[in-house]
Amino acid sequence: MIRLLYFAWVRERIGKAEEALALEHPASLRQILDRLRTVSAGHAAALADPSRLRAAINQDFAGFDAIVHPGDEVALFPPVTGG
């Protein structure tokens, strides 16, 4: 199991701020995205273009080749615009 968090328009398109995903073996973030796109039309729309997305694993920025382990907190969001 991993915890997924969504922010900004990713959250809006998916229609929820967080959810759980079953995960028994380590997988790349890219593989997680592939699975998530099949969950709903909202997921597919939000996650269609990885170049518009950024990700964090356990609250640190991560590339899409990074490996997610069971128990991790994974966040998906647009490029940040704070400051």
Partner: protein
């Protein structure tokens, strides 16, 4: 108390108090010769700021640690607000204290550049999410990696 240091990152919905934060750094001791502050405030149109609780504080603290490793700082404070903000309201505060003005100026500018690209906040204006600016990446990149 003289000889102390102070490095603090906070995320909060309420306004911050520039003078109070400044006084905390000014009181760090007789080595403090220069204090630089930056306040960003909402320009042109009201904003709503969403953030990633936990990661926001964590990444802001990491940026402070990075500044501390690069410059001889005695203290630094970063405060970022979230929630709904009217035009003219302050969004972000950065303060740096050092013995020398060049270090305080450079560290403050570095902190702002890196916060803009590394702190997980997202601005919404008029129902639209504001796109990240290439300018901000360029500004952050000029400091290089370590």
């Amino acid at each position: 108390m003289p000889g102390q240091t102070l490095f603090e990152a906070r995320v909060q919905p309420q306004p911050f108090d520039l003078a109070a934060e400044h006084t905390r750094l000014a009181a760090l001791g007789p080595m403090v010769g220069a204090i630089v502050s930056f306040v960003g405030q909402v320009r042109d149109t009201p904003l709503t700021l969403e953030h990633y609780p936990g990661m926001a504080e964590r990444q802001m603290q990491a940026v402070l640690d990075e500044a501390r490793a690069r410059w001889p700082l005695l203290g630094a404070i970063a405060v970022h607000r979230h929630g709904s903000l009217a035009v003219g309201e302050p969004i972000v505060l950065v303060l740096t204290a050092s013995s020398h003005r060049a270090a305080a100026f450079q560290a403050a500018e570095f902190l702002m550049d890196w916060l803009k690209t590394k702190a997980p906040f997202w601005k919404q204006a008029g129902g639209e999410w504001i796109a990240a600016k290439g300018d901000d990446d360029t500004a952050a990149d000029r400091w290089g990696d370590r």
